[in-house]
Symmetry: C2
Subunit: 448 residues, 2 copies
Amino acid sequence: MRRIVVIGGGAAGASAAARARRLDPGAEVLLIEKTDMITHAPCGIPYAVEGLVKSREDLVTYTPEEFERERKIRVLINTEVVDIDPDKKKVSVKKGDSIEEISWDKLVLATGAIPATPKVPGIDLRDVITIRHPAETDFIKRSLEDKNVIGIIGGGYIGIEMAEALLRLGKKVIMIEMTDQVLPTTIDKDLAEIISKYMIEKGIDLRLSERLIEIRGRERIEKIVTDKNEYKVDAVIIATGVRPNTYLTEKIGIKRGVTGAVEVNEFMETNIEDIYAAGDLVEKYHKILKKKVWIPLAPAANKEGQVAGANAAKGRILRFPGVVGTATTKFEDLYIARTGVSEKEAVENNIKYEAKTIRARTKAHYYPGGVEVYIKMLIEENSKRIIGAQAVGRDPVVISYIDIMSIVIEREMNIEDLFFSDLSYMPATAPVWHPLIVAARVLSKGLL
Amino acid sequence: MRRIVVIGGGAAGASAAARARRLDPGAEVLLIEKTDMITHAPCGIPYAVEGLVKSREDLVTYTPEEFERERKIRVLINTEVVDIDPDKKKVSVKKGDSIEEISWDKLVLATGAIPATPKVPGIDLRDVITIRHPAETDFIKRSLEDKNVIGIIGGGYIGIEMAEALLRLGKKVIMIEMTDQVLPTTIDKDLAEIISKYMIEKGIDLRLSERLIEIRGRERIEKIVTDKNEYKVDAVIIATGVRPNTYLTEKIGIKRGVTGAVEVNEFMETNIEDIYAAGDLVEKYHKILKKKVWIPLAPAANKEGQVAGANAAKGRILRFPGVVGTATTKFEDLYIARTGVSEKEAVENNIKYEAKTIRARTKAHYYPGGVEVYIKMLIEENSKRIIGAQAVGRDPVVISYIDIMSIVIEREMNIEDLFFSDLSYMPATAPVWHPLIVAARVLSKGLL
């Protein structure tokens, strides 16, 4: 019997397995996962730590047993793949102390990303916590239980989401970010300052432009030392980003791309025949920058998994066309989203652009409950094509603005196209001149 | 001095005047309005009646004085245009008892729509109320003050929004709709039934498939008589739709199109030279149906006004490309939206289609506060191009789903395009498989 083996039970791996199963009922589909959880949602960890989500089990869509029973996919949990032999088409798996070989006809790699931790003294101390896998949620909760002051290293998505969770648990939070803004890789500085201000208002001790030098302590952590200050803390959360988990792929010569992540074509094929890769492990094509990027996020991982699984089962039947750089987060009731190209990325990629940031209300001026939000929009200078958008505001509707813009940008609309688009209006949900249309108008410099 | 005269101070007229002013600083721009309010928002009337919006003055963006002072536009209020002479390029205006002639070089007609009232006995009784103009808000409020049971004739947008307002004022509401569903011209029956059910749950006495025959009473209204029943009521609100206000255009031979509304080209020019028309008075090009439709809504009116004003000032510099049929309303916390082509419209226009209605949650399964919403999607049978979408649910995010779909549909995306689009994900605002992507997947019948 033909066997399709998938390594990694997260978004990409589970999608690949499910898709292969559905399209090739005759094959055996085997999913191998290092922890005891599959179809899990790492994005939910902060909410589980906070207690908003009751238990780590709530973070999974299927238990391994359900996946086996309902999806007819064999699942090996607590099982680590330690080696791959691409010639003999076998993987070596380790469960407990025993090592076993499993053969495959098609292999899908979905080993995801792992935290990129700074190499500083003290990084291996107890109570230095990284946010990796929902399986560790209980451990993280226990570690933080008797701690009062928590240092968060890194002001990206995970840092901000953990800051929210800790604040709700009544902890004091000191956030150390080495660049001069929060969300440095995604949001431009003007909007990041609105976010910082709100975080400080809510009680975060935010320290920008400081670099972690050392974590000090013995039995317990005592302090963190930066290039500018020292802070007494009881625990440290490392949220300094992630990197592709290429341990296995390196060993067998699977090619990495310009970003350092595994290179795949649009069919999710690696450079080795019959080996596919998907999810946070791989780099993606950015439709606006027109180059490969590494943006490890769940929606793309799911779809890449689906493409890899479909093609592993049936040959080249699906293509993953790439992303436009949509990402979103929130801090308390401040919603944050972006898509396309930021000003920073435009500069780095030598794109001639114009950018405007507008303030707009979310409802008709006379309708109660509207709030003021910020929208930034970028156009390519010559074509007036819209290439990027960011939004920040205390209403989840700003996330939807960016969803709209993700389509606008992907479809290469210019400001006139957006101005004349047929966005909805009702006093309770939008002003009659929709905020996105106002932004387009402002960018038109009097033309519209 | 060149004079641009605009008739009608609503969305289209005010936009036209503002735009003409901005582009042609040398011209005199004159705005003529029959009531004492300009830049007013008829969509806000139900909220003003309810008291959610404090006064009718809150429903305007500019007072006539502000418009004159800040925009440098001459405004004649309480002034009715009674005749137009296209050859001599004059309008006759009536203010109080005096009639005056005003000459123009370019004329923009923006006389809007007026209620289409059923011709039944009793329609002229006192306390039979139509919803026309914000200027009448105080009158409506006074009329309803001492009334307990209100009959609403018509289950369209205005009927539903007035029903919400009256319910909040503690009135008993009987709604009579002659078709077998609410929102008959916009929402398909399957979703309309969800809306009806919720309206009944909230206390509306909803009577579908009943036609108003007569309104009875003398000093006060006593009852409404339908083809099936009689109902004791204290007042009646007529919400049986609107029709283009073509009184002036008829007189001078301005051409009406297939829909009965004024026909204009994409420059908003009528068949008479130097006369433009915009807003609810005119028909619009429907980009998906590829024919003229009459959809009188404020966002298009604003943009048409802008195009008419720009072209009146500068010649053919802007085009209004048309609409895709986006519309939205709500009843209490049930949000309702649609865009593109409904199933009913597909049938009427001989479009071969497939449709699916899905239920989806608005947040990650584990994140608190998510609700179940309904999304209907239509594709054209052969091309798999998405041609319509409707959504209903107790979260304003369904409005945003339809905003997204309005762009998806306008840009002629098919289900695979939508499936692979880069919509955002975060547990607090969407499931990892976005509801719209799930709908696309369901329509793919196993392909995705």
